[in-house]
């Protein structure tokens, strides 16, 4: 007979469900209600059906924001994951220096998002910022408030500065869990440094790296504060990510209906990606055991 799974333990999470109901489920239901209606304030709503969804699906503005968002997430993943692994591989494995590295690495993670934004906003300014002033003095034309490329480089570098340590710390934890015997065996076989990395370290880190990729993808896909503080979505719409656009639509223009439809689609994409990552992660784990 095949083994069945006992799911009764899930009843133990009922209290959490109650909390989540108030913090997420009820607001989400409200968003669904808003998405099929139109309002001019005063809590008066008019039925609009699926009009907003249709409008949003045909709106260039949303697709552009989605494109920028995906590009941003892909760029920072392509930089942060390899860089994080590289840093973790080169960190001292134990002793005082290891602890010092860990503390220093976790510092950027402790800084609130808007402070990170403010730091880089000032850092990059041509008149008073160290980075902007230096680049300007070297004759490099750098102005993140006017130049699209400069704005993108600034927010990408800012994100790399802020979050690479998370990937590095996770990768480091993965590396620490590899027993010495593996390295000894590799040494006996005279495996090259690359082969040790490819066949021992990388497979052993796969689990935590998946978590790192998931966390970084989700977080960057929902990024709001940092680009909002640094560029405000500009120049033009160049750094208007999905959430910045959403806030502009919902609070700036008070278009609650379209914004609700927009956020539901945004939510569905995030739900899909989280599910894919989660499934891949659990499947990998099962194959290992």
């Amino acid at each position: 007979m095949e083994k069945t799974v006992n799911q009764k333990a899930w009843f133990l999470v009922l209290p959490v469900l109650l909390l989540v109901a108030f913090s997420a489920v009820i607001p989400l239901m409200t968003v669904v209600n808003y998405s099929v209606q139109d309002t001019f304030g005063n809590n008066q709503f008019f039925w609009a059906g699926l009009e907003w969804f249709e409008e949003m699906l045909a709106s260039e503005r949303m697709w552009d924001a989605l494109g920028r968002q995906l590009l941003f997430s892909l760029i920072i993943l392509a930089i942060e994951v390899p860089l994080g692994i590289f840093v973790a591989l080169n960190m001292p494995k134990s002793g005082f220096w290891s602890s010092l590295c860990l503390v220093l690495m976790s510092l950027p993670l402790l800084i609130p998002w808007n402070v990170v934004g403010t730091i880089w906003q000032i850092f990059g300014r041509v008149d008073i910022g160290l980075l902007g002033y230096t680049l300007d003095a070297l004759g490099i034309n750098y102005n993140y408030t006017q130049d699209t490329l400069a704005a993108w480089i600034t927010i990408v570098v800012m994100d790399v500065w802020h979050w690479t340590s998370l990937v590095a710390l996770l990768a480091f934890a993965g590396l620490k869990s590899i027993p010495d015997a593996y390295y000894q065996a590799a040494k006996i076989d005279q495996a090259s440094r690359w082969k040790v990395f490819r066949y021992i370290e990388l497979p052993k880190m796969a689990g935590v790296l998946m978590i790192a990729v998931l966390l970084r993808f989700m977080d960057s896909f929902m990024i709001y504060t940092e680009p909002f503080v640094v560029t405000g979505g500009g120049p033009g719409n160049a750094t208007t990510m999905l959430s910045i656009d959403l806030v502009k639509m919902a609070l700036g223009q008070f278009d609650l209906g379209p914004a609700a439809a927009f956020s539901l689609m945004y939510f569905l994409v995030i739900l899909l990606v989280s599910w894919v990552f989660y499934t891949v992660m659990t499947t990998l784990e099962k194959r290992e055991t």
Binding site: E2, K3, T4, V5, N6, Q7, K8, I26, M29, T30, V32, N33, Y34, V36, Q37, T39, N43, F45, W47, G49, L50, F53, E54, L57, A58, M265, L268, L271, L272, W275, T279, T283, K286
Partner: protein
């Protein structure tokens, strides 16, 4: 509840979802789930397949809306076929 701006269609929508969730919970208690590996090559239980069905249906509806137009009853037919396929083969 005024602030939640309820409408009948959305209320029915949530009632359907809630009914599905409750039905599957009761089913899971009465007939414990057996995980199996289907064409996606991932292990799924009945609840997983419901989740895949609901999430996929949302995307089918959106795609229908964007590509065909507002003819959701037809999209729902596609969703039902999709649901049957998911429960049979995934």
């Amino acid at each position: 509840m005024d602030w939640m701006a309820w409408t009948w269609p959305t209320a029915i929508f949530f009632m359907v979802i809630a009914t599905l969730l409750i039905t599957f919970t009761v089913l899971a208690i009465k007939f414990p789930e057996t995980p199996r590996t289907g064409i996606l090559r991932i292990e799924t239980t009945r609840g997983d397949r419901l989740f895949i069905t609901l999430l996929g249906s949302a995307f089918i509806n959106l795609a229908w809306l964007g590509l065909v137009g507002v003819q959701q009853p037809l999209a729902l037919v596609v969703c039902l076929i999709y649901a049957a396929a998911v429960f049979r083969w995934v």
